[in-house]
């Protein structure tokens, strides 16, 4: 049985563990064997403490044997993006700045996973400080798309998506500031959810742009995505933006065939590859055939989303990354000099090119004489975009677009053109600006490369998005898909 465990869903693994036909140790051993065979090729993980994983697995098996199992995630490995703190494990954000850091505490989501009995399974590669759309900005290693190893997996949660598509782990956590869960999910043919802003605590998530950042679940099926979401969503006083009663349940509810789906006017136009448009149009036709009401909606300020995002996100990043000064933790330059020289040298040595570019941009849009023209206008544009989305979502249950305009590009293809890379996020950014939940669902292929569609709903409409995803998934063959490696 060991050779097929990596193909099973988290739901099925949970059922076998509960039935006693599988142990967490056997599962983790099988996955570690696969990690040893494939991680050099795919590059999804930056760290895996195998002894620690097996110790957690043994503890889980012992709990279960003693009748103290903690629920559906008991004994199931969940891999974690390297910007989410897990006590005793590296927390590098794939940056030289934090390379030596071992986290002294658990993030809220790590606490939740431990409380649910899950195995905290390794650290996943990412663009440095979550800044990027290809995982090429990692200072540690490259990650490759399991469907085509010459191509990028997307980013910034590229390791989280690639690990799923390669069958290295059944569940993973990513973080999403402008599309960093959904874009790699689309490129790797897996499911990714960015929850409503405030649904999942950011305590222990290394801050990039605090008003946009959210942690979210990634999986190979909608059912698995729900399983992980249910474990993560709960109130936490340590994140002042986190709300909600504990243990909110997000099982799909209602009749998905009665959903009203809005298609934003012009979104399938210029810049969208024909194969992507075809796959997304087929999904729209599917929902129509199921009885869903399809209508066109207007989002007139959509063209402002990318500039608005890159002003707000870089402004917040330039402030958040001010803490890396070589004093309290992280890299300190050996060329000491005065304190200011030490800080400047530490930052210049520790940060990679994209992080420096965004710090400079954020510093500029906040600087005296320019803040009104850029930052304040971006806040006003953000309010306008949010207003338009909420108005559109008053008339429909969700909006459907492609997740990404084009399939995964080749490694290095866009490395010298940051603006082109920023435009990868054109469909995903508005959900972050407006704080809305959004889901990427695999819906086809462009040649051999996965394509996903993107659903955006009103605040706290995760259950509806998941119900729509389930309806599509049940009728198509994209759940549980893995690349042949």
């Amino acid at each position: 049985m060991g050779e097929v465990l990596h193909t099973l869903s988290a739901g099925e693994l949970g059922r076998r563990l509960a039935a006693g036909t599988l142990t967490s140790r056997a599962l983790c051993e099988a996955l570690i064997t696969r990690f040893k065979a494939l991680n050099e090729t795919v590059g999804a993980f930056t760290h895996l403490d195998q002894a620690d994983v097996l110790a957690q697995a043994d503890a889980s098996d012992a709990r279960r044997k003693a009748g103290q199992g903690r629920g559906p995630l008991e004994g199931i490995p969940v891999a974690i993006k390297d910007n989410i703190a897990v006590k005793g494990q590296p927390l590098t954000c794939s940056s030289k700045m934090l390379a030596p850091l071992v986290s002294p505490y658990d993030s809220h989501v790590a606490e939740r996973l431990r409380a649910a009995g899950a195995i905290l399974y390794g650290r996943l590669n990412m663009d440095e400080f979550a800044m990027g759309s290809s995982t090429e900005n990692s200072a540690i290693r490259k990650t490759f798309n399991p469907w085509d190893l010459a191509r990028i997996p997307g980013g910034s949660s590229g390791g989280s998506a690639a690990a799923l598509a390669a069958g290295l782990v059944p569940l993973s956590l990513g973080s999403d500031t402008g599309g960093s869960i959904r874009q790699p999910a689309s490129h790797c043919g897996v499911v990714g959810l960015k929850p409503t802003y405030g649904l999942i605590s950011r305590f222990g998530l290394v801050a990039f742009a605090s008003s946009l950042d959210q942690i979210g679940p990634m999986a190979r099926s909608i059912e698995d995505c729900e399983l992980l979401l249910n474990a993560l969503a709960s109130a936490d006083a340590r994140d002042m933006t986190c709300f909600g009663p504990a243990d909110r349940a997000f099982a799909p509810s209602g009749d998905a065939k009665k959903l009203r789906i809005g298609i934003p006017k012009g979104f399938l136009g210029k810049g969208v590859a024909p194969e992507v448009a075809a796959a997304v149009n087929a999904a729209v036709a599917f929902y129509r055939a199921q009885g869903c009401a399809i209508s066109e909606v207007e989002l007139p300020s959509s063209d402002l989303a990318v500039p608005t995002y890159y002003v707000v996100a870089t402004a917040e990043a330039s402030s958040n990354l001010g803490r890396y000064d070589g004093v309290r933790y992280g890299h300190r330059s050996a060329s000491a000099g005065t304190p200011v020289e030490m800080m400047t040298a530490s930052r210049s040595e520790g940060f990679g090119p994209e992080v420096k570019r965004r710090i400079l941009l954020g510093t500029f849009v906040l600087s005296a004489g320019y803040a009104d023209a850029y930052y304040v206008r971006a806040l006003r544009a953000r309010a306008k975009i949010r207003g338009e989305y909420l108005a559109a979502l008053a008339g429909v249950d969700m909006l459907l677009t492609p997740t990404v305009p084009t399939p995964a590009f080749k490694v290095g293809e866009k490395a010298s053109d940051p603006l082109q890379l920023y435009l990868e996020d054109i469909f995903t950014i508005p959900a972050n600006l407006a704080g809305l939940p959004a889901l990427s669902v695999p819906c086809g292929k462009s040649g051999h490369l996965p394509v996903g569609f993107h659903l955006v709903g009103a605040p706290l409409s995760e259950a509806k998005l998941l119900a729509a995803g389930r309806l599509f998934e049940a009728a198509h063959g994209f759940a549980h898909q893995q690349a042949a490696l």
């Binding site: 402002l304 933790y329 020289e341 420096k356 600087s367 320019y370 544009a381 953000r382 306008k384 603006l419």
Partner: protein, 96 residues
């Protein structure tokens, strides 16, 4: 909007030291990106209202002491420490 863009001043504000090559590259890339931001200058935008705030003040938790990491864990993270304290380059010169 981008006139007066000064890469040296920005780098100083951001506490980054850039090589001549980096300065040339970032100047050109930032100008290109800022050009894309022109759409913001042209747009008809609403005034900022109170509800543009991301965080509702009511969500502030009460200010009560909670668990902390402790000095041993904190100094373990520091690049340099001595006697339970974080070491930094000398800030104040000796009196002469």
């Amino acid at each position: 909007m981008a006139e007066g863009f000064d890469i040296d001043h920005l780098a100083k504000l951001a506490r980054l030291s850039l090589t001549a090559e980096e300065k040339a590259l970032y100047s050109s890339q930032l100008n290109q990106i800022l050009g894309h931001f022109e759409a913001l200058a042209q747009a008809d935008l609403p005034a900022l209202s109170d509800d543009a705030r991301v965080v509702d003040e009511a969500a502030l938790r009460s200010d009560e002491p909670g668990p902390v990491l402790g000095s041993a864990a904190v100094t373990r993270l520091a690049p340099a420490s001595r006697d339970g304290q974080i070491s930094v380059p000398r800030v104040v010169d000796d009196e002469s």
